[in-house]
Every structure is written in C-alpha cells, then in structure tokens.
Symmetry: C2
Subunit: 309 residues, 2 copies
Amino acid sequence: MRNIRIIGCGAAVPENTVKFGDQTRYRMTGGETLIDLAEKAAKEALEDSGIGIGDIDLIIGGMATPLQAIPCNAALIHERIAKGLSIPAFDINSSCTSFVTAFDMASFLISAGQYKTILIISGDTASAALNPNQRESYELFSDAATAFVVTACGSGSGVINSKQCTYSEGVHDTELRGGCGLLTSFAMNEKNRDDYYFDMKGGRVLRLTAKKVPVFLNDFLTETGITMDDIDYIIPHQASKALGLIMERLGVPEKKYFDRVRDWGNMISAAIPMALYTSIREGRIKRGDRIALFGTAAGLTISILYMVY
Amino acid sequence: MRNIRIIGCGAAVPENTVKFGDQTRYRMTGGETLIDLAEKAAKEALEDSGIGIGDIDLIIGGMATPLQAIPCNAALIHERIAKGLSIPAFDINSSCTSFVTAFDMASFLISAGQYKTILIISGDTASAALNPNQRESYELFSDAATAFVVTACGSGSGVINSKQCTYSEGVHDTELRGGCGLLTSFAMNEKNRDDYYFDMKGGRVLRLTAKKVPVFLNDFLTETGITMDDIDYIIPHQASKALGLIMERLGVPEKKYFDRVRDWGNMISAAIPMALYTSIREGRIKRGDRIALFGTAAGLTISILYMVY
C-alpha cells in the first residue's frame, strides 16, 4: 500500500444555476473564472486540513482543459495561493479522470519520499465551450473546482491498487478541437466554427464505454485479487444519466455508489473529487473504508484507484 | 537511485527552416502537424530501442501546449501509434520543462513497479502562435518533437536526484493567454487579438531567471551533497541566446554543457530532450556518465534532474 492520507478537501461551484427539466447545472456568469473557484476550493482544503500553504510541497493541477495555452494551470493557481513561495507546480491531464491520475501520481511521489504533502486541484468550466445546438452535451455539464490535501502517513490509509487504460478508437468521440495548436483561434471561420465548441458523440461514447468498462474492471479485479465485496463504496465519474445503467450492468447495488447527476451534471475533472468531497462531508465514507475512484474520460480512458480512506 | 534506463530515442523537425541572421529556426508549413512529428519521433524511438509498441506500458505526453483543448495530447498520439491497444496515456505539463517532469515521474512509476517500460513524447509547435510583431520571440522558437523509451533496469542507470520549483511572480512573463478556458476563441476581437499570440517579456524573464537560478541550483547541490564536479555533462533548456551568459555566471565551462541555440532556437518542451537525443547520437554522453537535465519554464518554473545515463 502506498501510504497517503487525505487530510483536507474543498469545493466550489458558481452561484448561478440553470435547470433543464429536473436537472440542475452550475454555470459561471460574466466575470467569474475557474481560477476564482479553484482558489476558493484550495483555501477550504487548506483550512480543513489545519495546515498553511507553506506546508504544501507540491501543487498538481489535475484538470481536463487548459486555462491558457501557456503556462500550466497549476502555475496560474500558484499565483493566487502561493505567490512568493517556491512550491513546484505542474499539471497532470487524463481528461475527466485527471484527479484520479493526479491522486495516483501523488501516492507514488509521497511513498517514495519525494514530497510529504501535496495539494491537488481539479476543476473545469465546460460552460466556456458548450454548443447550444448540441442539446445532449449543452444540458449535461457543470462548472466546478475541487481541492484535496494529501500527506504521508505511516499506515492505515493509502492507495492499494490502481489501473488506467486508453482506447484511442474513441479519441474523436469526445473532443474540443479548436483553440489550441492543431486548430488555432486565428483559423476560426464561419465553416469550422463548431469545431471550437465541445463536441460529444454521446451514443458512440456510451457504446464504447459499455463494451470496454466491464472488461477493464474484470481485468483489474483478476490482476489484483480484489472482489467487488472488498469495495465498501464506489466514487464514480458522474459522466451522464447513464451512470445508473452502467452500474446496474456491473452488478453494483445503488447504495454502494455515489450518483448526483441530476443535481450536478458532469463536472468534468471536478466530478469524481466533488463526489469524494461530498461523500466525506455527508459521512458516506469514514476512515478505514475501502473505496474506489472510478471513471471514464475522453480518450477513451478508463481509470480506477482502490484505496483505504 | 531510481533505476531506469533510456533504451531508445527519436526526434523529428519540420523540413522547412527560416533564417534570422545566423540563426536557423524550424517551422512547419501547411498540412504538417505536431502529431506527424510526434509519430515520427515515437517510431524512431521504438525502432532504436528494439521493442514494439506492444511492449510499452504507458505513454506520457510531456508537452507545454495542448494540441486540442480535449482530449490530452497523449491520447491523440496514441491513435497514431497504439490504436487497438489499451496502453494508458496522459499528459504532464510544466511548460518548457515538461520532459524533465515527465522523466522524473516515469522514474517513480518504474521504480515502484507500476509500469516497466514508458514512452515519453515531448514536442511543441510554437509557430502556430508566434506574433510577427514581437521580434524577440518570433525569431527565437522552433517546432520539433522528440520521444524517449525508458525501462526498468537492475542497476547502473537511473535518476539520483531531482528538484523543481515554481516562482509565480513570473507567471505572466511567458504566456499564451487566448484560445482556452479563460479567453476562448469566440472572445477574440480586434482589441484583444494579440492575446492569442504567444507573449514573452524577455527582459523580465531573464532578470527573474538570473535571480532565481543560482539560488535554486545552490539549494539543490546543498540538499543533495552533489558538487558541480560530480556532473559530467549538463543538458540545459535551449531557452535563448542568453544560455551562454547564464552558464558563465553559474561557473559552468563551455565544454560541459550543450548549446545549439544558434542552429535550433528554443524548441519549448522538445528543447531539452532534443539536446539529450543529440548528445547521445553524437557520443557526447556515454553509459555511466552522470548528467543533469536542467531548465527554466513558463511559470517561472526551474527544474533539474541528476541521473546516470
């Protein structure tokens, strides 16, 4: 086990919400930025952990989308919370599962003694690029930011196993093609304007997910010798309203996983950590529980991390 | 020592070059993309290492800029070289030092036994966003991609120490503000058009670098007990023509570091690995040599990795 412990967490959403039927979504309005939410989440996580920014040895930005093309998100957040300090800051990006990948990396860095305490910040602002003409995605996503402080511990808590796979046959099913290196802002015209919106081929994503997830999960359980009964609670990516369907197919009973898609939608890289944060705050998980962070991401990437909280 | 060994490397630049006085720069022309260069570099690295893509356990994209806002660069490259396989793929971004951060992370993952063999791909295409009116940066950068295969080894080669710091007082000195979450392509207008170009405040970068680098390096040497004499060869970021000046201030003799700024310019995240690749190909470093990867990045981030090749 890679002994690390979550000692504090924070989360922030925009005040503004919109409703689509019974579904609630959080959307930023003018003036607010993801950095504002990230700063708020980070400060809550630090206060919750009872330590100061000076005790943080590394800041990881675990996010799906860049705030700017240069520099990395973590450096931009560093300016808000750690200006004047020399804390290293870099990003880890596996799209919607960025928090899981970042958490996993943090566990390797801490267990190797490279850093003692790490601040992981995950969040995205889908609203900046949602296409009003693509109803399925337009009505699904929310803006949010989250932050977790993890630190070295002797025993008790930590990551037991993790696994991640990428299946690039699905790489064009979830995309935001425009704005960066391959299709710059200068190249936007009337014909390719839609390429600068987020684009999700929902049916294709669901079919590939339904095909790959059971195989991936079965491989993970076989390779590690873990059974579904060993997992006390699953914190899944809040990918879509199909979450319940996927979980049913995997044979996971409703009380054993977190689902708040109706109230939040898909918060991209903030979805899993927001579910984890809320599970902690609501007492759904307690110290010693064996939990699994589990999700799919644009790529198609699938990621699972099995840990003792 | 985190025992890993470089068993293969590759590099690719565009055919097209431009000259500014005695300075040569590589710039893509229409139709070519960074993914083409990355694919070419990855294939050379695999061939050089004598293994196939099926032997790769993880693909890391260690790049400063996103190809698309979604998904991550590594997934897009996965499609070119690993389609049909389930190799995990994610990005690590610390701007110009992304290769160093990715290499460091790979050493932790391999020494912990999580993965055996990792493919790291670094590259950027500055030409997509250079501002013709900002001569200093317009005449400095080149497009390139590089790839390295690293694998577990019992002894002999590996990472001895590494250190990274971010000083966010310099976070706005090197920026590409537009195109992503904080300033989308849709928000571009005549007034803010320059925000969608790369923007480097060269004088400020140089002053902060000159102030922070000596302190950073001294701290690293003090903390680790390494002396400059222990380092056989330095592979620095080819940041600018000031490289020689910085090295002179640090007391590093000319024969002990790699400098090809005149012939290549600054290749962003590909600069350090291109210098490493060339040092290997030209026989400047040999097995058993103690080398240091060393560079500055937008952030301002400074990174060093001391290893036995």
